[in-house]
Amino acid sequence: MNISLLLNFTKQDLIDRYSGSILGGAWSFILPLVNILIFVLVFSKIMGAKLAVFGAEFTQYGYSIYLVAGILAWTAFANSVVRITNIFKEKAGLIAKVNISLSILPVYILVTESIIFLISMAFFALFLLLIDFPISRYWLFIPLLFLLQQLLAYSLGFIFATLSVFIRDIREFVNVIIQLWFWCTPIVYVIDIIPEFAQKLFYFNPLFIIVSAYREVIIFHRLPEFNNLGILLITASILFVLSLYLFRKLERDVRDFI
């Protein structure tokens, strides 16, 4: 399994999939953009007021910046988990015919999502420049944060993918979980609207930690909270090892069942 093959899968994913359509690869961005617009329309009035509490210099675009800083990372994460979960089914035809390393195969999805994230971030940066919102050197943390969240996405997705060969329900289950997870993470809303006793629980949500870190560097130009990120890194690494261990244990059966 070499790099050009992975990149070719990514290319098929990003470009070839839309071959013959007029807008082509732009479709990868249209759904997220529509999502963002809907959330801005619906929530900017309600949440905008709450944001003032944060003390950052906010304009009428305050909510949009808050939302986009979190939602791009979330979209990359959620898509990666869901798509990696389905990967064996999606590529079943190939897996049954060609010798492909099953543990490396999901990497192409990570690459695809990274490229979409990168382009989205570029647009976001352009937007910030246009509205004169400062972009600081703290942006350099973004790649690290992204690596961390995608490590988590791979580990979770790959565990689900392995199990889904034996339990078909996993695929539906993951869709539901991701939907719930989205609303349990302060992405479209601010955490202040949650009762105080419940706010502590949010720190058990890895995505809250990630999303907060993105906001720290993008909006507030501050260092992210390293303690939480450190714990998250350890957790993600353990999950990563676990996912590979589980797969190694079950690879023979996985291949037989596909």
Partner: protein, 399 residues
């Protein structure tokens, strides 16, 4: 070079996939074992072609999947020197919406070529496939033959040291099939090993240096292609006897066919070489008095077309059978027909043909196969006795 040693593959059969996890958690068995391969050992030397024969479900595909790395064996090991490439089943990995060129790239990458190799071979692949300008069209506009041509071209240009051919060659027109055969022979001369799986016994005889026969996951024969083919046929024969495929036939039942046997003089079995003297023995019983009786045979090809038929009346044998007796009719003929699978239909009737009185008619009561050619080779369905003379035209003068 491929070396396979004591390979075992066991499929665990579960009622549902989740039972596998239940098994791990509860440490109790929820499966039945199915032994797909048992103790398989063989080697294919460089430049050698090994045929693999076996009825459906004998383990051929499982074996190939293990060697190509798609499935994992339970026990034993195998070694493949260099790259191994299989002909992906028609268009696996092809994207119907992309054009031929794009599919060359993605398919080439899939079977383990590097980007530089693909670029270097691209033109050769296009030329070999004879797709011409079609290479710029989306694959969905291709016929299955064109897809096969492209797939084969990519696979053979991937420069493998071992090549797995699994039946796929049967698609495509004769011209391209022969081109593939020539290319495969060249590949072999250059030291490539080939695993050839086919039900086409003629191709096995022509192409392979050696053949093995798999039956229920065991190598039951390993030797020359002829031996392997004969062994394979015995397995198939047993299978057919078990399934009792023959129906009773029809007729007025004054006479009844009780047994039909076909054998070749040299082979002694139901696979003969084209041109080999063959025998058809028909045993029948007379149930009621009849005035006259004709025994007829008809050879049909696999499409059900009549290839050759004759009967005792045509052959000048007038015969008045005695009531309540058993008779044997023995036809002897040189099997001057092209390689392929044939069926034998036998009939008992009166006079010249069965239109007036048909006592007993049995369609496809026996099957046989012609594989390989004895003597001068020929093309078409049959070998007509032919002589040829060559002279200079000037000596003939003008007539």
């Amino acid at each position: 070079m491929i070396t396979v040693t004591n390979l075992h593959k066991r499929f665990k059969l579960y009622k549902k996939p989740s039972d596998r996890l239940k098994e791990i958690m509860l440490r109790r068995s929820f499966h039945q074992n199915y032994e797909a391969l048992r103790d398989i050992s063989f080697t294919v030397a460089a430049g050698e072609t090994l045929g693999i024969l076996g009825k459906n479900g004998a383990g051929k595909s499982t074996l190939l999947k293990i060697i190509t790395g798609v499935l994992l064996a339970d026990d034993g090991h195998f070694q493949v020197e260099g790259k191994i490439t299989g002909l992906l089943e028609l268009g696996t990995g092809f994207d119907a919406d992309l054009n031929g060129l794009q599919n060359i790239t993605s398919n080439g990458l899939l079977i383990g070529m590097s980007m530089t190799e693909i670029e270097a071979q691209k033109q050769a692949i296009i030329d070999f496939s004879e797709l011409g300008d079609f290479i710029h069209e989306p694959i969905r506009t291709y016929s299955s033959g064109m897809i096969m041509r492209l797939a084969f071209s990519i696979a053979i240009h991937a420069n493998p040291s071992c090549f797995v051919v699994d039946e796929a060659l049967s698609v495509g027109d004769a011209h391209f099939q022969q081109k593939c055969m020539r290319r495969i022979k060249r590949f072999r001369q250059e030291g490539g090993s080939i695993l050839f799986v086919s039900h086409d016994l003629n191709a096995i005889k022509m192409l392979c240096d050696r053949a093995i026969v798999l039956d229920q996951g065991i190598v039951v024969a390993d030797g020359s292609p002829e031996d392997a083919v004969n062994h394979y046929n015995r397995i198939i024969a047993d299978l057919e006897e078990q399934s009792q495929r023959q129906e009773e036939g029809y007729g007025s039942n004054e006479a009844e066919i009780t047994a039909v046997k076909f054998w070749g003089q040299d082979s002694g079995g139901r696979v003969v070489t084209s041109g080999e003297k063959s025998y058809i023995e028909i045993i029948f019983k007379i149930n009621a008095p009849v005035e006259d009786l004709t025994v007829g045979i008809m050879i049909r090809d696999r499409f059900g077309q009549d290839i050759f038929g004759t009967n005792s009346h045509h052959l000048g044998l007038d015969f008045e059978p005695q009531h309540d007796n058993h008779y044997q009719a023995l036809f002897e003929l040189d099997m001057e027909i092209a390689p392929g699978k044939y069926t034998l239909t036998v009939a008992l009737h009166s006079q010249e043909n069965h239109i007036e009185l048909c006592y007993h008619w049995r369609d496809n009561i026996e099957t046989f196969e012609v594989a390989g050619t004895k003597g001068d080779s020929f093309s078409g369905v049959c070998r007509l006795p032919t002589k040829v003379k060559l002279e200079r035209e000037t000596e003939l003068g003008h007539r």
